[in-house]
């Protein structure tokens, strides 16, 4: 079983020539930072240049510019995942909340194979006007260890260090895949932003995201013992 920590820290060192990520804090610590997520240096993050789908010529854009705001929310998403698409209204509300406090929200399409054309059409249809980026080589997805879409990462900067303060679903609309609440009753990511602004602890910094699994580039699925009962084969 390969763990993610070793190759990620190796990549960071190779790509940025910067110090590797700090060791994760004590996982028992339920402070307002995410226990299992790394603290990432800005120098490292600034090398992540994702393809900007707004630029038809294939230009790139950094998610964490040096002179940018101190609060960045990354939402990993997809053009086709029904759970991600059902979350679009909440995504717009989250964007408004982030804009209100001077932060920046970026939408990153994390599914392999998504094209710029599909991302643009998706954004136009769903009235998305935040920066929309393609992570074709899973550089950011890998560093955040993203596994499903949609998932929000609420990050703040302290000098040159970024901390993931919340990672998880935007809200509780879905309890599980295919198990959707009547309506969301908690907006976890917006609540996290509000808590950061207020200087209060985030109620639960990590929540399991519910959605469509990201098949990471270069990794193949592990076999799972079949649990589907055999039935008549025609």
């Amino acid at each position: 079983m390969i763990t993610h920590a070793a190759p990620i820290s190796l990549m960071l060192t190779l790509l940025a020539g910067a110090p590797a990520i700090d060791p994760p804090p004590d996982t028992k610590d339920r402070s307002d930072s995410v226990a299992t997520a790394p603290v990432l240096s800005r120098a490292v993050l600034e090398v992540i240049m994702l393809r900007d789908v707004r630029d038809a010529k294939g230009g790139t854009k950094t998610v964490f510019p040096a002179n940018g705001p101190g609060l960045v929310v990354v939402v990993l998403s997809s053009t086709t995942c029904p759970i991600a698409n059902a979350s679009v209204p909440e995504l717009r509300r989250l964007q408004a909340a982030v804009d209100d406090v001077g932060g920046r929200l970026v939408l990153v399409h994390a599914m392999p194979g998504v094209t710029a054309e599909a991302a643009i059409a998706h954004a136009n249809t769903r009235r998305l006007d935040m920066p929309i980026l393609l992570d074709e080589r899973h550089e950011l997805v890998g560093r955040l260890d993203g596994t499903v879409v949609p998932e929000a990462f609420v990050m703040t900067r302290n000098a040159d260090r970024w901390t993931i303060r919340y990672r998880g679903p935007l809200d509780n609309l879905y309890a599980e895949i295919g198990r959707r609440r009547r309506n969301a009753t908690s907006a976890y990511a917006r609540d996290a932003v509000a808590a950061i602004v207020a200087g209060t602890p985030i109620a639960q910094p990590i929540r399991p995201a519910v959605g469509c699994r990201i098949d990471r580039i270069g990794r193949v699925p592990k076999a799972v013992p079949g649990v589907v009962p055999e039935v008549a084969v025609e």
Binding site: R182, G226, E230
Partner: protein, 464 residues
């Protein structure tokens, strides 16, 4: 051919369960020198494309119900882990009841799943020749003798609106006038959704009482907000179609009887997709040719009209036992239950004392309602006792509980909050006369009952 595929699939299933043999290096001596021949990994062209064609492409193709396409090797490879997850979790293909003996039973077999996993494990090779691109299967034959369509679209919001209804949401009723001067014999119903990805379920009831028309006329928009059933006939009594699952079709020799001057009242259960969607639905009816003999199908409800479950609690409720006075043939069942229903059962106790679970849905999902058809039909002799049992779970641990934290569920619907609607045919004229009366009488009984059902479930089920 299928046997070979099955054997290969099982072999691959065993291989992928062993720790990390490098691709292309499988086989070779094991144990005491026994040599297992190297088995080439499955390929898209040779193995996997057929599985995806058979199990997925009906919905996962351009313009179909599925939210993404699975028509080529790259698309399947890119979602490989997700596909295995939803297969293992029982989410795809969508199919709720246990057991076999169903028409259109949808599943991925263990061998197919193992082949898919082995293909992904080996990097998803295409195989010989250009990669196959799959086409969705064509529609099954259908003769549209009568077509009705909404006069204008009903626009659904981008997300659910909780304001207007405390019970089911995301449902909309539409009354289609059939303008039929004489009775009709309906063999099959086809629903053509205008926005397939926004549609979950269409439930039908032919109505000659004007109840559906009354609801439609009271609402200024096209159709009407749907919180219950028009009149005493439950929605779904004449069939339920899960989007993407095909037509509602009765076997040859049976029909749904539709009196003259009837309407087709339809309950559409839709799925907010994050954008406003326009639903302008079209329904087609195939009729039994005039010269052909055919027997009418009637509806028989096993229903509970009211429930009261405290927050954080579970409860088992059951319908009244119906004792058949005439022999019947059971062709299908259309289950219906609220979100907090965990398990749904329909049992029959035959006159000789032996019992059978006609339907057992251990993980009910009210978004996946459909008519379940038996193959072959089930003979129910006179004296058979029928009952439906529902396990309700109003705790926070029920992931389908729409309320967080749980709220008391105290709801009543005169015509059946929880129900299984049996599609049955009599063998005699007297039997048909009996059937025509027992459905409405049972519903009227529910309407008279002000308190939750206290009928005890059959002993064998109560012991589960």
């Amino acid at each position: 051919m299928n046997t070979i595929a099955l054997v290969l699939g099982v072999i691959f299933g065993l291989l992928v369960a062993t720790p990390d043999p490098p691709p292309g290096k499988r086989g070779g001596p094991i144990g005491d020198g026994l040599v297992v021949p190297a088995v080439p990994p499955p390929t898209w062209n040779g193995d996997v494309a057929d599985i995806i064609q058979r199990r997925c492409v009906t919905c996962h193709a351009m313009g179909r119900v599925g939210p993404f396409e699975l028509v080529d090797a790259a698309a399947v490879r890119n979602r490989g882990r997700f596909l295995l997850d939803v297969i293992d979790g029982g989410r795809m293909p969508p199919w709720l009841p246990t057991g076999t003996g169903w028409v259109n039973h949808r599943t991925v077999t263990t061998a197919e799943r193992a082949t898919l996993a082995a293909w992904l494990e080996s990097g998803g090779p295409v195989g010989d020749g250009p990669a196959r691109v799959l086409d969705p299967p064509g529609s099954s034959p259908f003769r549209a003798d009568l077509t009705v369509e909404m006069p204008e679209a009903h626009v659904i919001p981008e997300e659910s609106d909780p304001a207007w209804h405390a019970g089911e949401i995301d449902v909309h009723g539409v009354t289609f006038s059939l303008d039929n001067d004489s009775p009709l014999r309906v063999q099959a119903i086809r629903h053509r959704p205008a926005s397939p990805q926004a549609m979950r379920v269409a439930a039908f009831a032919f109505d000659d009482t004007g109840a559906g028309r009354y609801l439609d006329e009271r609402d200024s928009r096209v159709g009407f907000l749907m919180g219950g059933d028009p009149g005493i006939k439950p929605m779904g009594a004449d069939g339920v179609i899960l989007a993407g699952s095909g037509d509602f079709r009765l076997p040859e020799g049976f029909h749904v009887p539709v009196p003259a001057a009837s309407d087709l009242v339809t309950q559409f259960q839709y799925r907010p997709t994050g954008v406003p969607e326009r639903l302008q639905e079209r329904i087609e009816l195939e009729l039994v040719p005039a010269a052909e003999a055919s027997r009418p199908i009637r509806w028989l409800p096993l229903a509970v009209g009211r429930v009261d479950v405290a927050a954080g609690e579970g409860q088992r409720v059951s319908s009244e036992v119906i004792v058949l006075e005439h022999p019947l043939q059971l062709l299908g069942i259309s289950p219906r239950a609220i979100e907090i229903c965990r398990r749904l059962l329909v049992v029959v106790e035959f006159p000789d004392g032996h019992r059978r679970e006609l339907v057992d849905i251990p993980d009910w999902d009210h978004h996946q309602r459909e008519t379940l058809r038996f193959e072959p039909p089930v003979d129910l002799p006179a004296g058979s006792r029928l009952q439906a049992i529902f396990d309700l779970d109003n705790t926070a641990s029920n992931p389908r509980n729409p309320d967080d934290p749980p709220q008391r569920v105290n709801r009543g619907r005169r015509t059946g909050l929880l129900g299984n609607f049996l599609h049955v045919a009599a063998r005699t004229v007297d039997g048909d006369r009996y059937l025509r009366s027992i459905g409405p009488e049972t519903i009227r009984g529910l309407m008279r009952r002000a308190r939750p059902t206290s009928e005890k479930p059959m002993e064998s089920i109560a012991g589960d």
